[in-house]
């Protein structure tokens, strides 16, 4: 009996300690922002940081602000209306798994947050889309920042390359890293490969979700149309290096990117058609517009 009581006592202490040792999830957008704070990166990587700040990655819950409106629509029209078996009737019913429909790609760090954060984001998107600037500012606190590509998504084949490690920044080389929280650098085998981007820039329906959504299909187009057409450049080649846009990574917003994406030639001809002799010769201009896409994926795509 004494042994039994001892075992019970040990269990009574061990189980809460175990739970305490497990990763604590963020319970608010502010907590999630703090968990993924990248402000210290700016000290050494100022140019890259400033490029990133202008990008849609930095405002991944807002976008142009088409993203914010689309997330709001996903909640109101999708979860609360068309997804009749989702269990969501109001914002308070929303769980992380519902918001993964958008946040799987627009905020991968949601995996480290509770349902409360999912609800907070849903509400802020709805309010922000209706014009609430405070709600929009709330959404701006979190986004696809340095840690998403340079840690969370830096290793994709976990059974080959392992899991991304805490305290490590993944890039192009191994070594020490002058940051109090991220003290070492390791080489990511995919940092310069399109598959890094493809993790979010999509293949089609997200079949891993209970209710597949389909937002980005670019990587699918890259794999199954661009590469078969003879293409050999990576996403990074075109969207970072070719036009020296770095971590801004623009697409249609950048004039040089747009110009290089599609080559257009226009031929003109004028003559008299004679399709129906009773109607006589009709003076006709013929315009032939030839467009060649040089992009690594269909245009438009996202």
């Amino acid at each position: 009996m004494r042994v039994f009581k001892l075992i019970l006592a040990v269990l009574f202490i061990a189980v809460p300690l175990t739970a305490f040792a497990a990763e604590k999830k963020a319970n608010s957008i502010d907590e999630l922002a703090k968990m993924y704070d990248v402000s210290s990166c700016k000290a050494c990587h100022a140019k890259i940081y400033e490029e990133w700040e202008k990008s849609y990655h930095a405002a991944s819950l807002i976008g142009s602000p088409r993203t914010m409106a689309t997330i709001a629509s996903a909640v109101k029209d999708g979860m609360m209306k068309e997804w009749t078996k989702s269990g969501v009737k109001k914002v308070e019913d929303i769980k992380v798994e519902h918001m993964l429909s958008c946040l799987k790609c627009h905020l991968p760090q949601i995996k480290d947050a509770t349902d409360a954060v999912a609800q907070e984001i849903a509400k802020a998107a709805i309010d922000g889309a209706a014009g609430d600037e405070d709600a929009r500012a709330k959404l701006k606190k979190v986004g696809i920042n340095c840690l998403v590509c340079h840690n969370t998504k830096a290793l994709v084949h976990k059974w080959v390359d392992g899991e991304p490690e805490k305290g490590v920044v993944y890039g192009n080389k191994d070594g020490a890293h002058a940051d109090p929280k991220y003290k070492s650098m390791k080489k990511s085998p995919i940092m310069k490969e399109s598959i890094l981007c493809g993790q979010c820039h999509g293949l089609g329906p997200n079949f891993d979700l209970a209710n597949p959504t389909q937002c980005a299909t670019q990587y699918g187009s890259y794999l199954h149309a661009y590469v078969p057409s003879g293409g050999s450049e990576t996403c990074q080649d075109c969207h970072m290096h070719k036009h020296k846009t770095g971590h801004f990574m623009p697409a249609y917003r950048d004039p040089s990117q747009a110009k290089s994406a599609v080559k257009v030639d226009v031929d003109t001809k004028a003559y008299y058609t004679f399709y129906a002799p009773a109607k006589g010769h009709i003076p006709t201009a013929v315009l032939t517009v030839k467009m060649i896409s040089n992009a690594g994926h269909r245009i438009p795509d996202g």
Binding site: R66, E82, C102, A225, L287, T288, I292, S293, H297, P300
Partner: protein
């Protein structure tokens, strides 16, 4: 594409849309918008990588009829044709959008076409 006579009168207006077109929830025959409901592909008219897309437009030069046929004395023998390629991230009407917000100009040219 728009065509105008030399005195500025529009005599032709046409546009083509290039985009992937998806059904709702992978079923049915209706194209929808909204990533939360799109699944699959009904039709894809996008500009495809490495591929040439060719569009041909026939535009009649303006004229008046005489005895059911064009009156040569009335033919406007010169028109200016403007071709624009817009990128519209959220769709809509390219005549009503705000440039560099709702639509981005990928290409523009104006050609003068003359008939003898």
């Amino acid at each position: 594409m728009t065509a105008k006579t030399k005195d500025g009168k529009e005599v032709f207006n046409s546009s083509k849309i290039y985009m992937p077109q998806s059904p709702a929830y992978g079923k049915g025959d209706k194209m929808v918008y909204g990533p939360f409901r799109k699944s699959g592909m009904l039709r894809d008219t996008s500009l495809q990588p490495g591929k040439k897309t060719v569009e041909t437009f026939e535009i009649k030069f303006p004229y008046e009829e005489k005895d059911g046929k064009p009156d040569p004395a009335t033919i406007k023998r010169e028109i200016d044709v403007t071709i624009k390629l817009w990128y519209m991230p959220a769709g809509g009407d390219h005549k009503k959008g705000v440039v560099d917000k709702d639509q981005y100009l990928f290409y523009e040219t104006t050609k003068t076409v003359k008939v003898q």
